[in-house]
């Protein structure tokens, strides 16, 4: 490349078993590049990536082994569907892993169930005649059927309507509960990030700017604002109240806590007056 730039610059992080990790950062901050390194689609110029005990950047590591460990669901994954039937499409991944036919079928059944679809009803339908939300589930099932230890999702809810959006988020939580795998997802929706993540990573200009719990990360509104990122809308509201001189706790990440906090304040005031 003539104008070589560092798309990723000295990134270091650990993710533990069973964690859900949310990644935020604006377009071009290196999020997608990072995700593609995690399953070997891109290889780092320097540095190592270990999944479990295996260094996936070591020479001689089989791609198949990496893909088995890390499943990557791209943005708008429904655009990669290609088979005649849903069952065949979901089977594509496990078949590529060289599994036996019975094993493949079992996994397909399980994966389709995991994403909340009815296997018997949907298995013989063409993926192209499903609704947008269903297509996306089938595409995610295609990766889940490979039983990855780490499931990586790039903007899993992009372009969906609010109903389908909520369903996909619930589905991610279901999958996590059922498999207790590591889930890493990218989103622009700070509310979703705060709701789902155990750990939040903030990317900017190819660098990892912050890592922490949602409370720690979203507690730094100014630092996020500097790189053009926001806090969840509820947090935004609490800050607005605080700025207007209302003495409320501003580091609140969900609607329930916000309601309680504002209610408490108002009740106290109304009773006093």
């Amino acid at each position: 490349m003539p104008d070589e730039q560092l798309a990723l610059d000295n990134i270091n992080f650990d993710i533990y078993d069973g964690e859900i990790v949310g990644i935020i950062g604006h377009t071009g901050s290196g999020k997608s590049t990072l995700l593609q390194h995690l399953n070997g689609l891109l290889r780092p110029h320097s540095g190592t990536i270990c999944i479990g005990d295996t260094d996936i950047t070591a020479p001689g590591v089989l791609m198949k082994d990496i893909r088995r460990r890390v499943g990557l669901v791209f943005q708008y994954p429904e655009y990669q569907l290609f088979e005649e039937t849903v069952a065949k499409d979901v089977a594509f991944g496990p078949k590529n892993l060289g599994l036996s036919d019975e094993e493949v079928e079992d996994r397909v059944k399980e994966a389709i169930g995991l994403v909340g679809l009815d296997y018997e009803k949907i298995k013989d339908r063409s993926p192209f005649e499903l609704s947008g939300g269903q297509k996306r589930r089938v595409a995610i099932a295609g990766v889940l059927a490979m039983k990855p230890q780490v499931l990586v999702l790039d903007e899993p809810t992009a372009g969906l309507d609010p109903g389908a959006h909520k369903e996909i988020l619930a589905m991610i939580q279901e999958v996590h509960k059922a498999q207790n795998n590591i889930i890493i997802f990218v989103s622009h929706n700070m509310g979703d990030i705060a709701d789902l993540s155990d750990k939040v990573m903030v990317m900017n200009d190819g660098k990892l700017m912050m890592v922490g719990t949602p409370e720690e990360v979203f507690g730094q509104k100014e630092r996020l604002a500097e790189i053009g990122l926001s806090v969840p809308p509820v947090t935004e509201l609490m800050h607005a109240l605080k700025d207007a001189g209302v003495p409320v706790k501003e580091n609140i990440l969900n609607l329930k806590d916000a309601e309680a906090e504002i209610y408490q304040y108002l009740q106290r005031k109304i009773l006093h007056d």
Binding site: M1, F74, Y79, F82, F92, N96
Partner: protein, 270 residues
């Protein structure tokens, strides 16, 4: 990466040549090709090469950039050179078994080699100095008279310019789909020819689906923007011949005369 492939090989610039009407440049290129076939001796080629050198100089396209474009076709040039040098009978000057080089063969090979190189450089200058979109515009207008006898010139030009617009989009789409299928364990590199051809299905099907979706969206958007074919359509960039264009045409005609004159007056090499 796949999206780094550029098409048309345009070299952005603001030179006199860049600013010429694309129609003049298309005519110039066609004439130059004709002239290369009129010329039948080395002096003629020297004149053509000199003219081309002036053209390159004025266009301000770096020579290295032009020569880089020759690289992919180097093999063809060498192949034709060898074919000519060994295959033509005549006065033998060197022989090894069945391989022989003759005076006539050597002359023809050099002659054809020069013709081919000049031809490629000359025509690549058209795309190097003209934006693809101006090129399609120019072609549309040059073919304009054919529209009267029912040739869909506007439609052809529109299709070409839409193709130019969507090539990068489809390349990007292909890149994305390939990566997504790789993430599902697809392997495009190993196996025999049949296995490899089969491994393309997971790319081609989604790509076709995408292409149709794009076509549908685009058709809808074009209709919404009142597109109704070439009839009654005006253009923002008017193509009008200016002083430079007329001057260029004059030079072209003169040059054509010179090459014809040289063919008539000078002895042929072949």
């Amino acid at each position: 990466m796949i999206r780094d492939i550029t098409l048309g090989q345009y070299y952005a610039g603001e030179s006199l040549i860049h600013r010429l009407d694309p129609r003049v440049k298309i005519i110039a290129t066609l004439l130059f090709i004709v002239e290369l076939f009129i010329v039948n001796n080395f002096i003629g080629f020297a004149v053509c090469a000199a003219a081309l050198a002036v053209y390159v100089k004025v266009s301000k396209v770096p020579l290295s950039f032009i020569l880089r474009g020759l690289k992919p076709i180097l093999l063809i040039i060498i192949f034709t050179f060898c074919l000519n040098i060994f295959m033509i009978d005549g006065r033998i000057i060197w022989q090894l078994g069945f391989l022989k080089i003759t005076v006539e063969g050597l002359l023809t090979a050099v002659f054809m080699g020069i013709r081919l190189v000049l031809l490629i450089i000359g025509s690549s200058l058209l795309t190097l100095t003209t934006k693809p979109i101006s090129l399609t515009d120019g072609i549309e207008r040059l073919l304009g008279p054919l529209a009267r006898i029912g040739v869909p010139t506007h439609e052809i030009a529109m299709m070409m310019s839409i193709a130019l617009r969507f090539i990068p989009t489809l390349l990007e789409e292909t890149d994305k789909i390939m990566k997504a299928q790789q993430a599902r364990g697809a392997d495009f590199e190993s196996g025999n020819l049949l296995a490899r051809a089969k491994s393309l299905i997971p790319i081609l099907v989604p790509l076709f689906v995408s292409a149709f979706r794009i076509a549908q969206d685009l058709a809808m958007a074009m209709e919404a923007r009142c597109y109704r074919g070439g009839k009654g359509r005006t253009r923002m960039h008017e193509m009008r011949f200016r002083g430079n264009d007329y001057a260029a045409l004059m030079i072209l005609v003169l040059f054509l005369g010179v090459t014809i004159f040289m063919r008539m007056q000078l002895p042929s090499v072949l």
